[in-house]
Assembly symmetry: C2
């Protein structure tokens, strides 16, 4: 026989979680908050919470994130996967749908006391299954940086190629050549030159052209290179 408390616990059984990533100080960092109470008191967790009866999952993520970071700063939000292991939450049965959120470099949202940015390469101990979610979020980001225009979501509105190289290098986790990055992104027509010029580092040097992304909607820019259709048909 169910009690009212049971029924409410059951209705609250779907949560959302957000892996919010930003390139800060030339590192890929994630937004985490420190749990105050059990379970996992003191450990760090992804922001999120339970959904209400009349909102979509994406709306719910935005609503919960609003407490942590100004949601207008979110340049991209996409669903990752839904976790359903009955034992993932020791307290009660809870499904959780994970999202990837991105914040452009350069902005520094005001975050609450218990919340902090952490380098994804040097994470503290995380609660629940959040560490695995965060790493899969990074994998998704790395993949999409390569075959879509998702860079727009990590880059500021305008940038030099050296700045963009640093952002890509931080997100991808390996060095990136500004020379080759420029050619790839220009040939694919992801970038356009604004005509402005700016200095990057401290010393002298030739001023860099300032670019912007041509589109801020996600587009697939490079269909998988393998097994593509013959050029004649289709």
């Amino acid at each position: 026989m169910y009690t009212v408390a049971d029924s409410q616990a059951k209705t609250a059984a779907h949560a959302v979680l957000a892996a919010v990533l930003q390139v800060r100080d030339c590192e890929l960092q994630a937004l985490l908050w420190q749990r105050g109470r059990e379970p996992y008191a003191g450990l760090w967790a992804l922001p999120g919470g339970v959904i209400t009866a009349d909102e979509t999952l994406a709306d719910s993520v935005r609503r919960h994130l609003a407490e942590k970071v100004d949601v207008r700063e979110l340049s991209h939000l996409e669903q990752l996967e839904t976790l359903s292991d009955p034992g993932r939450n020791p307290a009660r049965r809870e499904l959780a749908t994970a999202y990837l959120g991105l914040v452009p470099a350069g902005v520094d949202p005001h975050v609450p006391e218990d919340t902090r940015w952490h380098a994804v390469d040097d994470l503290p101990e995380l609660a629940y299954d959040h560490a695995a979610i965060l790493l899969s979020a990074r994998e998704r980001l790395r993949g999409k940086l390569s075959y879509t225009n998702l860079g727009f979501a990590l880059a500021p509105p305008r940038f030099t190629l050296a700045e963009l190289r640093d952002i890509y290098a931080a997100a991808l986790g390996h060095t990136v050549s500004a020379t080759n990055l420029q050619r790839v992104l220009l040939r694919r027509r992801l970038l356009e030159d604004t005509g402005e010029r700016r200095h990057y580092g401290s010393g002298g040097g030739r001023p860099a052209a300032i670019y912007r992304f041509r589109s801020t909607e996600l587009e697939i820019t490079d269909q998988f290179a393998v097994l593509r259709p013959p050029t004649m048909d289709r």
Copy 2:
């Protein structure tokens, strides 16, 4: 105040749906069942149903599919996305997590009366948002055929290259050259020669070598060609 009926209705608010695909008659086909009652009576729908309190989503898909098709035939099952639009089900609030299931060519599972295979290129009218789910399942399949070894899940245990070409062509929706398919899959070491030989078509001709996939676990075989790390570091 909640009643027991309410609480059960609420706990039943998470469903699973499966887009089960197989190459049949050189076409990519999907398993659909025809709804008997409202809403959407007479329209075709993806198999699925609500989850129970103690199963994972993947287990639930397998359980619901067991009524439609022998689950031992399923060569692959992966999660697609979770749909959450409050209006997607007119009767009640219901989240649904969609899965992609694959059945190898050659087997012909016994299916119930109300269930039939339909060519994905020539679908009947589908209930709910199932048409969009089915098309996104096909996109996922097409992508993964290109950069993983997922072909193992569509191919029979042993096959000639001509047979494999027909399977890839049906799934990808464009012609595929057996010559080039062989070279790509052999160089990536996805296939191995069993040493056996067999005739493919009706007439004469040189007998074809019989191959099998080296692995039947999903593996990423071609990291994105673009923006890969420099060969020196990492």
